[in-house]
Amino acid sequence: MASATAEAPAPAPEAPIQSFTVTLIIRRFDPETMDEPIWQDFDVDMFPTDRVLDALHKIKWEQDGTLTFRRSCAHGICGSDAMRINGRNRLACKTLIKDLDISQPIYVEAIKGLPLEKDLIVDMEPFFESYRQIQPFLIADSKPKGGKERIQSVAQRERFDDTTKCILCAACTSSCPVFWTDGQYFGPAAIVNAHRFIFDSRDEGSQVRLDILNDKEGVWRCRTTFNCSEACPRGIEVTKAIAEVKQAVLRGKA
């Protein structure tokens, strides 16, 4: 009985997973000691399954504890660790090292267009301010028809499904060249979240939101460069959502 296992040839010891050295060049800024940000490079030993966030952790825990960045869930849901990786806005926790070209150094910097506070941290307040302006909550003052619920069909729910996925990481807004110029533009994220309510059949405030987005700094500043759609870590078709809001403004209704 027991010999059956003993007789079987011992399984070859698994080949150790090959690790490799990756160079990260990180844009550092300390407001207390520096006038201008500087680029600093770090060498870290990584496995193919590691993400950019793991590399940042390794640096912070083993090499330089002053490295500052935001992260919370580390699984692409909380939206804390959006940053510019090799010139593209990505979530550090969803970007695998092996998907980047590791023969070259990996450049990591804070997202653009928002005030830099320290290292990879920016002041998100202007971003949330425009988010608040579009009134991102259900406005429904009327009594629901025939009962306690506002019933919605599958098709009605499907209409705005894409824009419910937003995690407010600011990757889209901080990839938008119009937002970079003066930061006055509402930005893709605010418009996406307005879209989520404008096309919600239960909501009655879409006219208010359309009026807000029909402003000088509203949807008309969008130049359809598709940077936002490319940057979105949730795969939201941001530019399409903005175009739908534009059409709704022109028609005067959702």
Binding site: G205, V208, N214, D215, W220
Partner: protein, 144 residues
């Protein structure tokens, strides 16, 4: 008890929404310009003798036909306003304060000057101006 202000208490906007109409204009004129510009290029550069046919007489011949006058007027106005509106958005993006005012003013003036000049040429064009012998329209002009 604290009271929460009603949402959207911003004052209603007055006057024309230029951003909206500007955006719509770009889309509509863009579609028309595709037809107008490619029609223009096809007739001038490709059909008949091709690019070699273009000289003073060729242009004079086109402008003798009201169809081409309307075509060119549309092309002039749609394209020039399309272009200057695009420049306006760029200026609004990248220039601030006094510089923005100066650039927008210069843009407006140059656009109006070009529109007026172009319209004047198209509507008052005289093929027999100057020396008819040098333009190859001698017969036509003597007949007049």
């Amino acid at each position: 008890m604290t009271t929460v202000p009603l949402p959207n208490t911003r004052p209603a906007r007055r006057g024309v929404n230029w951003e909206k109409w500007g955006w719509l204009y770009m889309r509509v004129s863009g579609v028309l310009l595709v037809v107008l510009i490619f029609g223009h290029l096809l007739v001038n550069l490709f059909l008949g003798e091709g690019v070699k046919a273009i000289d003073f007489a060729f242009v004079a011949g086109k402008l003798a036909d009201p169809f081409w006058i309307v075509w060119d007027l549309l092309l002039l106005w749609l394209a020039l306003i399309h272009g200057s509106n695009g420049m306006r958005t760029l200026v609004n993006d990248y220039a601030h304060g006094r510089l923005r005012k100066v650039l927008l003013g210069a843009l407006l003036v140059s656009t109006i000057v070009l529109l007026v000049l172009g319209t004047l040429v198209l509507t008052t064009f005289d093929p027999c101006i100057g020396d008819p012998a040098s333009t190859g329209l001698q017969e036509l002009c003597e007949a007049q």
